[in-house]
Subunit: 347 residues, 2 copies
DNA sequence: TTTTAGCACTTGAAACTGTGGAGTGCTAAT
DNA sequence: ATTAGCACTCCACAGTTTCAAGTGCTAAAA
């Protein structure tokens, strides 16, 4: 994978350029490097090497007389060299675990909390999303009689997810009707996806309920709504403000188009879906590697987490000159922490 | 309330200035007014009137040779004249009702949806929040036995709110334990706030549960968490991007400080709490009327909604030159719509 | 052969300048 | 009381200059 044309010194210089640019956000010059990074050679030598690196496509000059900026190729090299080696660094793993310790139950809260943590740990905008798979299945229905025209329908799904909804009825029922109805649901609808709940099955349940058949329609509406909610894709962002600190986004119109994508969840899901491969592990998409024009100066990093049927991911969005080593480390830990926390809870 | 020094023509001119500035965002000149607004007088006359208005504090000149900009006093006059007269305008009430029609049950979803609607109707950032009152009381507990180490605890609160949580136990129980436990909860904890659930009561329940007394601690933890969640203050924002379209926020540093407040929910709650008086009706806080420095160029408009024990509010955040007539109209309708929708549902 | 010092060259950012237009206030005429 | 006319002010904008940073190249040094 490593480019055989690169000498050791060139790699050293390249890394120095990337590091410096990540910190300053400004083009890096030869003099600056020779002074700060204690290379044992003069600016002129570094210039020569940088010229080679530019020719090979690792560095770019914004204009004739500016320093150099890493190309996407350079970031890619940098990141690839980084992945897999971050685990020996020292870290705030204690804090991550601490902050994850309290209960994460519903997917919705997991997403919010995950994006919040990603943002707070990294100085970039945090993102957490789940993909819509349409696979939710009810394990068990329970009904709780509230009054003649209301009852609570409790649906237990896989992965410890429990949803309860109040069903209002336009007519009176007894406690026994609720009991019989949930019995029927448990016989006919358990382990079906929303799509598999076909009309004939519904009609059958109506028949069983006899004179109380009208309970079925309002209840089914609630069941469909709940399952659709679980099945649908969703994205949570946190810390949008953090983007503003980077000069890359100081142009308000650019910022606007990026935030436009981020805020329209459908569009964002498109971007992610285009990128996302199902495999686990850290995904790093640098600049134009993203399949979207407004993200051409933006890096997207995330890690998938699979938990039973549900699949979700957590990561960050920021400028191309992202602090890759820190972010990759953090996101990896955060994802692992969430994963572990959720698995434990299911035990 | 109306300033007696103002002549009818001055009021007319002032209104024209406010309207024009709301639309363009730029200082308004005498020539522009005389041409567009069909006053039957020359620019010079308008200039004289504007000079008076400036002296009285209704207009401000950014610099010697620019047009005039309305002062906060002018906006205040404009808004006060507006409030109470919006009800005869034509409107999109149908659409509001249409988009509210689907079930709003949990407070959390109400907030999200309300802020989303406020943003989508008005071109400003939508905001919805509930104040933390610490008044949640459980009407009824129900338990559903899941397995030897798990059961679902269903808590019905006032206002149709139902929360269910899975409780994991470090030891085995039977279905009968769950039944007895919920019975005890219904005797001792119903209609208490979280604060009122004192240690003696808990101990009593433990005694009643006898050998299964260890069920109490994990369950109480869940109950506390749930009630705290309901009791705590919360804010939802939507459409933060909309702020970016206004030149008022094209300065990134200004934008940053404002967004900083908006994103940190605690800070935002402070700002709102400082402003919010419990009375219903539309609240309009213009510029420095807000008790926060970063909001000195920003207007905050919201309307309170009281529903049983819960108190929440919906509104928008935007530049001082807000389209007040439209926003006041919309927020009022939106709040009424939500109110009606929620009350209906409780019937 | 590699490294380095020196130098001319390029270029954008920032400071500066000049011009034009928009808007004003004042005065005198209506 | 209103308005036309006019001199004045001042910002926005475009063009210009200056400056510093950084480069590539060449020739000398290691």
């Amino acid at each position: 994978m490593a480019d055989p044309r690169l000498t050791a010194r060139q790699i050293q210089i390249l890394k120095a350029v990337v590091d410096a640019h990540i910190n300053n956000g400004e083009p890096v010059g030869s003099k600056y490097l020779s002074e700060t990074d204690a290379f044992n050679c003069s600016p002129a030598t570094i210039r020569n090497e940088m010229a080679s690196l530019e020719q090979m496509g690792y560095l770019v000059q914004p204009h004739t007389s500016a320093g150099r900026v890493p190309s996407e190729l350079a970031y890619r090299l940098y990141v690839d060299a980084l992945i897999g080696q971050y685990s020996q660094t020292k870290f705030e793993i204690d804090e991550i675990n601490e902050r994850l310790r309290y209960k994460l139950t519903e997917m919705d809260k997991i997403l919010s909390e995950a994006s919040r943590l990603a943002a707070s740990f990294t100085d970039y905008t945090g993102i957490a999303f789940k993909s819509g798979v349409g696979k939710a299945r009810v394990n068990r229905f329970n009904g709780i009689f509230l009054g003649p025209r209301d009852f609570i329908l409790v649906m237990s799904f896989d992965d410890d997810v429990v949803k309860s909804k109040t069903v209002h009825l336009p007519f009176s029922i007894t406690e026994d009707v609720v009991r019989r109805f949930t019995e029927a649901l448990n016989i006919y609808l358990v382990n079906l996806t929303a799509d598999e709940m076909s009309m004939p099955i519904i009609v059958k349940i109506e028949a069983i309920m006899g004179s109380a058949g009208a309970i079925v329609h309002p209840a089914m509406k609630v069941i469909y709504e709940t399952m659709n909610e679980l099945d649908s894709a969703d994205v949570k962002l946190d810390g949008i403000t953090k983007l503003l600190q980077y000069p890359e986004y100081s142009d308000v119109t650019k910022l606007r188009s990026l935030l436009g994508v981020l805020e329209e969840k459908d569009k964002l899901m498109d971007v992610i879906a285009a990128n996302n491969s199902p495999e686990d592990g850290i995904h790093v998409y640098i600049g134009t590697e993203n399949d979207s024009d407004v993200m051409k100066d933006t890096t997207l990093i995330f890690k998938n987490i699979t938990l039973g049927n549900s699949q979700f991911a957590v990561g960050v969005i920021g400028p191309k000159r992202m602090n890759y080593s820190k972010v990759i480390d953090m996101i990896s830990r955060l994802a692992n922490g969430i994963d572990r926390m959720l698995s434990d809870e299911n035990k």
